[in-house]
Symmetry: D2
Subunit: 399 residues, 4 copies
């Protein structure tokens, strides 16, 4: 009972942690800054090779597609230490997990054959296109990119952005409206589009919070792809996306916890060593409150996340639990990094420490995969409905 | 793995819940208001008898002293439903658990013989005297009540308050300074004082937040008790108190969760039924945010508490974990009740609902058993020390 | 420019402050506890007489109705010191101001003649009936109490609660639905009902937060009053109420500031004197943060309130400003009192200090005169509309 | 009474606002990105010339040094609109105000002659060196850079960073320890160092939050400057710095208000136009709460700042008031920008809008000119002292 890293997971988790701290940290800023040029990419390839040699590659990918097949709950624990560095996610192959599963489960044989192996091997990058500048993505039924069948080809037109990695990916899975007469939530489909397709035009790599890291804006101008590029069935777009998102949010949250724990470690080391007005910062109560609140928020979020993971592992959808960790986790992430910066003073915002980059990246957490506002409303409505149905809600504690 | 009510605990937990809702709720306000008169006490005795008949009495007391011996973790889960009503704690005998254990473990045979059985049976009330009006109890080394040995008797002088139940208890366990030359934390002892001792003067039953519920102010004016009334050894006062507090805080927190869940249930039912501006409150986002935040805070606190309980059950002191739940729990308790009141508007502050009483009582949570401020500082210092010692702190997640 | 107590207001403000501190404070708890019996009321009458003798009575009432006619802005500053004690409001005649103005401006000559002079003189109490238990008062168009004309009499039926002072008032001004075919906001009227009318049945003096202070529940069972008891015109109920509320909220807020300043004074004195762990609380950073935050919140709220008062004094409605101070003020009030309690520990919740009573009473502030939630929505919509109309909103700072 | 833009200030304030919105906004991102190259600087020079032609240059500089001599309170109001864009500060000459005054008041005639005129004219940039990487600047008595007199020259050694503009400035005013035997707060002095001095080595332009905007790290390696480069007297460093900081913080805060108001405008326009789930964001309560809270925080902060300015204008130090606006202002700034980003979703973090840059820059506000933590402690201690001295504190409202 309770949550702790299972005995058999500890060794692999520890090896991953060491890899992240010893191999990734030293080249982390280089990888961020040079992500778009050849030298940066070569450095990443080298790191990937190292991970493969050490047996740390694609730990969570199922064995049948070439991964190491770590069970879900084991992998959840590992993800917290992977998450300490965004670059580690790529170096260890974590970044292709969701897309690999999607291809594996929904793609036609030819695309499976073409992309799956190199994707799992980290030889090609995936990308995923949902968000559009013209409409609020919080309500995805508003998306306007369309695909129409013209003979045996889909003809795609539209305007997407935040298609992460588009400028280095082999293909983009794009969410498009394909059905005109179906109910809205059954009108969208997902289609695989090779990035070298004609009419697939990358407008720019959008600087976000000052980071130019591959969040591309892409115009689809009569892009034609074979009919078989459809994932699953017509109208299944949202269903597939939802399936992708669920465990994805657990992994997200575990990685946020990794980020937060890293910031917390930096915070504690700093305040133990920095002196002002004749004593270390550690001796000041305002600092102690920051330490306490951070520890409490991290641990609360960790338990909530592990609990949600556990529900999913039992085959439940755990929608309430997942929305809770999304909202609570995003806030926790910001708070802990923010406090870590504060105790560092000016140093905290310089590129000498990873904190400022983490701070900027953390701002995304509150709107990606649905803004917090939507999660709050949806979840509350779900809980309130269960009361109207005479059940109530106490997260499974009720007899 | 994970936390849920164990299968074998569900039936007893469910029966307790029913008892609390069906038997205690209807007479709850009567019991609060009339706690100091004969009629009120008779009503309570009747309730106790009912609980005994139904086999729900003294569930957590060890079997060897006459309880039902529910194991710690099982009892933790039961405590959440007991805690929905403060009166239920008494009706089910929970209120004597800590004192029974203290007598059982530390009292001399004669006092054990005299008090233990009737205490476990609910025939007499215990009381416990720590706090003094003249000094900040956050720093108990300042306490000024003294006991001096005069022959075979302790002579006690001092001024205590917040000695809960003193006006209906058979005896008070009082924390007194007995050693003049020992280090401060070894200078205090606990002594059992029958409430009918000469010089044991109850000054008043202090109204707190408008409730007159037995938080007595007591002056010890040359109170003489036999030498054997000492609990444990001389100078062990704080050690015994600490031992009492540890699991006590877990039970506190579970009961706070019970209170919060009850408030949450009231909140959800209200907003599902109340209409304003053409829709139920449930449809308004500001209300949804209250529901979401409450659910998230309750569940986070529940997992933190269960996790701390688990640590204790394994024989660890879990000091950090316990301070975290004390602080987080007290805030959660206030927040949830406060929101429940808000959605009820004026009705929320009337005596027609239990919320206003819960709100007032909840204010205590932030300073009883050490003010939050002390817990925050102590805990942060403990965490920071572990960093200085090269260990760091991630609540046991670190390999 | 700027806000400060005008030179000519200082002497009267100082005399009021002295009266409140020296005459009211000592008998304050007596007045609260005994508000419903003869002895308590006699003590209040004595205090009122004293205030009259000292020339501090009815300072803000217009001269033409027997008050001292202090101009609005002057009176605003005085109200902050009156507000330090709820009982001072009554002792100084402040409690009848809104009702006196309402009678003066809207009542028919006979009722004016009958009630106005004794009301201003403090010989009779007014009461005001709006809230009903059956509907959310946040949306007053739902109110269900009706009045129908039967010949020259209104026949009133309905169920009100929170009719403060009903059990000692000469009359109640009751908001009733009189028009069936008018638009909702023009369907309600206000009618003066003598409390000795047949069918005017006080059900109970509802205990609220444990205080039994005259928040009565009243059933109107075919209560008949003359046609001329109508205030203003038929259907003007909300208009008159709004007119009553506007400056009323300013006074409320100033009194909240008075309460907060009083709590702040208690907090600062306590922490300067209380010792824990070898130093005064004043030297601890967590306490310093409480002091800082309280000072900042009080001063922000004070300036916002004076600014809103200023707008009103210029004849503007200042609806945004007034909603802002209502919400910000209610939160500030709670926060400051709450912190003052916390630094007092157990003493803070006892009846030995005024804090616990203030804490309980402060809970009302968040839903009286419209719950905060409604003020937030209404105000935001007003601001957003001004943007849609091309104006924007910067509280008058825009050129 | 009250605060509003004085009639005679409105025209100039309006012209400044137009200049900022029409001339600066369009080239703002260009100026940020290209601040370090010739083209960027040329663009800035052009803007400066435009401002001069329109009579908007150096509005707040005293007339006797070549400015337009706007009185303090008038200039405060103007600063809010200047502050909407950091670049506007430079374009309008605001960025040299503090340094111009410092030279004017404290420099020896030769340096005054050499630098003052071109500084006021915007032909040269100033820079100011306080912070050092090795010590916590919150406690400036720890600063380690020293200057020793060697004949008629100061020999400066040390390591500073966050010397803003060092890479384009003509000179740096550097805070150095000059006295070994004086009390700490009298041991530091300020010395003017031309940036082309030998041994003045700019190590790098530190990227902060991803912005490379001239926050330079500088090593002083036996830098020699004439004895007359001293500002004021030996040991007056902190006194001069304090004098510089006081009104500087008022201007800071007004500019933060300008930033916040700009973000607020963007927020309101966005939510009025963006649709999700069948209605504009403006119609959703969670958004309305963001609008309400932002408006309330902006207005509270604005009044607090104007009130503090007013105190200063009367010749008071207003230390409490200034610390309050520093802390409250920095938090308000973050909150409002943060909410503006949230309502924009992904767009909010792109370089298409100024919000993400404002968000990053806003993070500095909580530690520049003393971290919030120090302001809170210092201010609380000051307030508490006034209570110990029998005065108490109510921001001048007390009679």
């Amino acid at each position: 009972m309770g949550f702790e890293v299972p005995e058999h997971v500890r060794p692999i988790r520890e090896r991953v942690r060491q890899f992240v701290e010893e191999r990734v940290y030293p080249v982390e800023s280089f990888l961020f800054e040079r992500n778009h040029d050849a030298e940066g990419r070569a450095a990443m390839t080298e790191l990937m090779d190292e991970a493969k040699r050490e047996g740390l590659w694609a730990l969570g990918h199922p064995k049948e597609i070439g991964g190491q097949g770590l069970p879900f709950m084991d992998y959840v624990y590992v993800n917290e230490v992977v998450g300490r560095s965004e670059q580690a996610m790529i170096a260890l192959g974590t970044h292709t997990l969701q897309d690999s599963l999607m291809l594996h489960q929904h793609a036609s044989p030819e695309w499976r054959d073409r992309y799956l192996a190199p994707l799992v091997a980290g030889e090609i990058y995936p990308s995923f296109a949902m968000t559009e500048p013209a409409v609020a993505s919080s309500d995805p039924t508003q998306l306007q990119t369309t695909a129409e069948l013209d003979g045996d080809e889909w003809v795609i037109n539209g305007h997407k952005w935040f298609t992460t990695f588009a400028n280095r990916a082999a293909y983009t899975t794009v969410m498009v409206k394909t059905e005109q007469d179906a109910p809205l939530h059954r009108s969208f489909s997902m289609i695989v589009v090779p990035t070298d397709s004609e009419g697939y035009n990358i407008v720019r790599d959008i600087p976000v919070m000052g980071m130019v890291e591959g969040h591309c804006e892409v115009i689809y101008d009569n892009v034609r792809v074979p009919r078989t590029n459809l994932l699953g069935e017509r109208g299944e777009g949202f269903t597939i996306a939802q399936r992708r998102l669920g465990p994805g949010r657990i992994f997200h949250c575990m990685r946020w916890l990794g980020q937060a724990q890293r910031a917390f470690d930096l915070m504690c080391d700093r305040v133990n060593n920095r002196v002002a007005f004749g004593e270390t910062l550690a001796e000041k109560q305002q600092i102690q409150v920051m330490v306490f609140d951070s520890a409490a928020e991290i641990q609360a979020c960790r338990l909530l996340t592990l609990d949600a993971a556990q529900q999913m592992d039992r085959g439940e959808q755990a929608r309430v639990e997942i929305s809770v960790i999304k909202v609570v986790g995003a806030r926790m992430l910001h708070n802990v990094i923010d406090r870590a910066i504060q105790v560092h003073g000016a140093a905290g915002v310089t590129s000498d420490l990873p904190l400022e980059h983490m701070y900027r990246a953390a701002r995304f957490a509150r709107f990606v995969d649905g803004p917090d506002e939507v999660h709050r409303s949806t979840t509350a409505r779900r809980i309130l409905r269960s009361y109207r149905e005479g059940e109530g809600w106490d997260f499974g504690m009720r007899n």
